[in-house]
């Protein structure tokens, strides 16, 4: 069942990842301390750099997480799926991107939503646009980009990406319809 798959996909990797992250952290800290003791001047730089990145994270991360939490309660998956069916042509593409940029969660959470949309008869290009926007122009994500890479970088990349996704999705649909279908959905 789709729902089982969704649960499996959204839960199993978290546990695995969580453990992996702690193990790696437990490995990297002794390494950092040891090399800092061996090369004191380099060690001081490592500490300075880590501290400045830590501060930047502290300034921004709580806001980003709160925004993600608010999106999670106000923009539910049902709302997203409902609006995705609406609109056609350029309007449909733009709407799909906006719907993809709002909710949060890793990309694999969006796959079952995409599959459901295709089954409901949504355009391939729209589903592609939804997934692409979900992947790379999420609003909370963009806040991190603004903070760490600056306005010029973030805004330029955002505009280029939105435009490129639009073109890419139409092209993807064109190929999709002409490729032999090796595997059907479900």
């Amino acid at each position: 069942m789709k729902t089982d798959l969704l649960n499996e996909a959204s839960q199993a990797p978290w546990y695995k990842k969580l453990r992996r992250d702690w193990i790696m952290l437990a490995l990297i800290i002794p390494i950092a301390v040891t090399v800092s003791l061996i090369f004191p001047d380099r060690g001081e730089r490592v500490a300075d750099i880590s501290w400045s990145f830590f501060l930047e994270m502290v300034y921004i991360l709580p806001a980003v997480l709160i925004l993600m939490g608010l999106f999670a309660v106000w923009v539910s998956k049902d709302v997203v799926v409902r609006y995705l069916g609406a609109g056609s042509g350029v309007k449909g593409l733009v709407l799909s991107m906006v719907m993809g940029a709002l909710p949060t969660g890793p990309l694999y959470v969006a796959f079952p939503m995409g599959a459901m949309l295709i089954k409901k008869g949504a355009r391939i290009a729209n589903v592609m646009a939804f997934l692409s926007a979900w992947a790379c122009i999420k609003i909370p994500q963009e806040l991190m980009e603004l903070q760490f890479l600056g306005w010029r970088f973030a805004v330029t990349r955002l505009l280029l990406t939105a435009f490129a996704i639009g073109v890419m999705c139409l092209f993807a649909e064109f190929i999709y319809k002409r490729l032999p279908q090796k595997e059907t959905l479900d």
Binding site: L25, I29, S50, E56, P62, A63, A72, A115, Q141, F148
Partner: protein, 160 residues
């Protein structure tokens, strides 16, 4: 705090106030989700902070700029794009990593390629994506996303 951080925090503060006005219950649910997400992300955040410190403290900028700097041209972009496709890092942490690469001499092009493939192309997600959306869809999406990431990177390099 940088002006950017102040603007972002104020905007999120406003959103939070608005949400509280509309529904306290939903707002607290959202905050709970945020708190849980923070707990899940904590080790990865600390890991990335220490890794960036070690990386910038020990790897010489001349080495990074030779591989990913502007003189490396398209090859540097290709290396960054492949790295971004294969690595699995939460998107939120991709930006500090991109910033650290840029500080150590990587070009705008390489960093843009790295970030765009890191978010759009997911090698480790391919099996899940195939299961849900089919082989045809998955291969087209990941393949085209890779190409688009490189095009975006080159345009970024030309504009900025």
């Amino acid at each position: 705090m940088s002006p950017t951080a102040i603007v972002i925090n104020s905007l999120v503060g406003l959103a939070l106030a608005f949400s509280l006005l509309k529904s306290r219950k939903k707002t607290f649910m959202g905050l709970k989700i945020a708190w849980k997400a923070a707990g899940k992300m904590l080790p990865a955040v600390l890991l990335v902070i220490v890794a960036i410190g070690l990386f910038l403290g020990f790897v010489s900028p001349s080495y990074i700029s030779r591989i990913l700097g502007s003189s490396s041209g398209l090859l540097g972009v290709a290396v960054a794009a492949v790295l971004g496709s294969v690595l699995f890092i939460p998107a939120i942490l991709a930006f500090p990593m991109g910033a650290s690469l840029m500080q150590s001499g990587a070009s705008i092009m390489s960093v843009a390629a790295f970030i765009t493939t890191l978010t759009m192309v997911g090698f480790i997600f391919i099996p899940v994506e195939i299961k849900e959306l089919g082989t045809r869809f998955t291969l087209i999406r990941n393949g085209l996303s890779f190409v688009v990431a490189i095009i975006i990177a080159i345009l970024m390099g030309m504009i900025l």
